[in-house]
């Protein structure tokens, strides 16, 4: 009887990971990001959400390694006197959370609808796939910008900034479900004809059970590969939306809204407010993309091309 850990150690995945230095580094950095954002309240030297801890006299201090740096603020402060390091830690937490939650929503919708389309077939399949085609032909960014802009105009900026985090997850989550649905559907169509599915049906198992327990496990590999890319894309989308002022508000910033807030000051030489969150964001996305590439090479799934 082998434990899960031993089985993991003997898997191809572990073998390939052991041989690829770049993948190890990327995984390491990603884990670091995840831990930092989970433990942000513990790690951050200041609380950026607490207005009483912010002193306007501390504003626009450059990072420590520059002239005029202050040892209290490693990365300097922004125009309101917030500690940039703390704000970035909290911002990464928000960005990562929105990315992961949005992808979970995509996963849920895409897998369910893909399974139904493939398993039921016929008219249901035709309608669902047509909707997926049409939705894919519109860019996610476009749809997200328009939907969020309209909600912001309807709710007013005040109320909207409270709801922003849910709106972002919902919009990014709903916009990209066809990615999963197509892949899952392709698997279902291939597996449905096989004998084990017939056997399961003959024993009288209910359709949902057959779909989730018997057919779905065949598409775990492509789902994993798609998910990495999707998380990176979701984080980019969130950053772009926040940059446009349609995402997280400035008093509860994600990395995108931090960059947006800093952009106003770049002309007066306060480069760090934009650049440091920018680098943090790019490294996060890059690491996820590289991991996704690596996973694709290692697992080599049959991805649905379209």
């Amino acid at each position: 009887m082998t434990t899960r850990w031993e089985r993991f150690r003997q898997s191809d995945f572990y073998y390939h990971l052991g041989r690829d230095r770049l993948a190890q580094i990327c995984l390491g950095i990603f884990v670091l990001y995840a831990l930092a954002s989970l433990a942000a309240p513990l790690l951050a030297p200041h609380d950026p959400y607490d207005p009483s801890s912010i002193d306007i006299m501390d504003s626009e201090i450059p990072p420590l390694w520059q002239d005029g740096g202050d040892p209290r603020f490693l990365f300097g402060t922004d125009a309101q006197g917030r500690d940039l390091l703390s704000t970035i830690l909290y911002g990464t937490r928000i960005s990562l959370m929105i990315g992961v939650c949005a992808v979970l929503l995509q996963l849920f919708l895409g897998v369910s609808l893909g399974l139904i389309a493939g398993y039921v077939g016929g008219r249901v399949d035709a309608v669902l796939m047509r909707i997926a085609d049409i939705q894919l032909s519109f860019s996610t960014m476009m749809v997200a910008i328009i939907v969020l802009a309209i909600f912001q105009a309807a709710f007013g900026t005040e109320l909207y900034s409270d709801l922003a985090i849910f709106m972002l997850i919902l919009v990014i989550g709903i916009a990209e479900w066809p990615q999963y649905a197509r892949t899952v559907r392709a698997t279902v169509l291939a597996e449905k004809k096989k004998e084990y599915v017939d056997a399961a049906r003959l024993t009288g198992l209910p359709a949902p059970l057959i779909m989730f327990r018997h057919i779905l496990p065949n598409s775990v590999t492509p789902i994993l590969v798609i998910s990495t890319v999707q998380i990176a894309n979701a984080i980019i989308s969130e950053a772009a939306l926040s940059f446009l002022g349609l995402g997280m508000p400035v008093n509860k910033p994600s990395l995108g809204s931090l960059i947006s807030a800093g952009f106003e000051f770049i002309f007066s030489g306060l480069w760090w407010i934009t650049t440091i969150p920018g680098v943090v964001l790019v490294v996060l996305i890059l690491v996820i993309n590289l991991l996704g590439d690596w996973l694709r090479d290692v697992l080599n799934p049959r991805l649905y091309k379209g």
Binding site: I145, A232, L244, F263, I266, I285
Partner: protein, 325 residues
């Protein structure tokens, strides 16, 4: 072919109908048109009368039908802010956005095809690996960050490039173009590069992947065995089939590019449709928002339909509807 065309047109019409229905319900929900037209001082009774006259008390579908009738004639209402027909405002801004997309497309085409093909033909050279590495970095940098960094380096630090606006434009038959003046072209450089930066790596990777696949097919091996020159095989036989999927993806990406123009235009204060749209949102200028929605929806639908048609024409193996019978 005709059936295929008709089916695609029908689908396009349905999509446009859905967009118009959505746009109209937005207009219905967002703000009170009466308050925008008359001031606060008009009495309640007069308001009711006006509302009745304007047909604002009619059922939703009746109002929608009227909206649709006017929209087909190009009347999408007047912008609250500009006090001019919304469609006219949008079309004024269209050239700026079009030229931006054109500039970016030229950059993408000019670089992606040669680099992608080279990376497929010689996958193991240093340059190829460097390009593949650079492309994944490129994909990971959000478009607005590229734009900000370009501005910071080339406008603020070096002072070589203008950081905002279109520069000098000339009027060519009602089309304000920046392509004919040196100043206008100079202003176009940074925004075009920013807009291209998100798509270029994508296309390089796509062309490389497709080309690699094509190079492993039977007919290429046959052509080699026949003794055709390598260049003839690469650029005549292989490239032709490589570009097929590129057409489909390219069509979809044109839509995505329009979305990204909103970001690029915001950073560079480029006076195009995207920048105007965000301003309209901030001012809750409903007719303008709707006009933008419909114009952009139309661009999406037209490009997608065209791409499908071109694909059907170019690719002999594609299953056109009606050919099965």
């Amino acid at each position: 072919m005709l059936r295929f065309l008709l089916r695609r047109l029908a689908q396009a019409a349905v999509v446009m109908l859905v967009i118009s229905l959505l746009s109209f319900s937005i207009q219905d929900q967002l703000g009170d048109p009466l308050r925008e037209l008359v001031g606060q001082r008009v009495s309640e009774a007069e308001r009711d009368l006006l509302r009745e006259q304007m047909g604002l008390n009619d059922p939703f579908l009746v109002q929608y039908w009227r909206f649709l009738g006017r929209a087909v004639q190009g009347d999408l209402g007047d912008s609250y802010f500009f006090k001019r027909p919304a469609l006219e405002v949008i079309l004024d801004k269209f050239p700026a956005t079009f030229e931006l997309v054109l500039g970016a497309s030229v950059i993408i085409l000019f670089f992606s095809v040669p680099i992608g093909v080279y990376c497929a033909i010689r996958p193991r050279t240093l340059f190829s690996r460097l390009m593949m590495g650079a492309s994944i970095v490129g994909i990971s940098i959000p478009v607005f960050l590229t734009a900000i960094m370009l501005i910071y380096v080339f406008s603020i630090q070096l002072g070589w490039m203008p950081s905002f606006g279109r520069g000098e434009t000339v009027d060519v038959g009602g089309w304000q173009t920046g392509l004919l003046t040196a100043d206008g072209l100079w202003h176009l450089v940074l925004p075009s590069i920013s807009l291209a930066s998100i798509m270029l790596p994508l296309f390089i990777r796509l062309i490389r992947a497709e080309m690699l696949e094509v190079l492993h097919t039977e007919y290429i091996r046959f052509a080699t065995a026949k003794g055709l020159s390598r260049y003839r095989i690469w650029f005549l036989h292989a490239l032709k089939n490589t570009l097929l999927p590129v057409i489909t993806v390219g069509g979809v990406q044109i839509g995505t590019m329009i979305a990204y123009t909103i970001l690029t235009e915001t950073v560079f204060q480029w006076p195009g449709m995207g920048f105007m749209f965000l301003e309209a949102v901030n001012r809750v200028d409903t007719p303008l928002i709707i006009a933008y929605l419909i114009v952009v929806g139309l661009i999406f639908v037209i490009t997608n339909t065209l791409v499908d048609l071109i694909y059907g024409l170019v690719n002999p193996t594609v299953q056109l509807a009606g050919r099965q019978e």
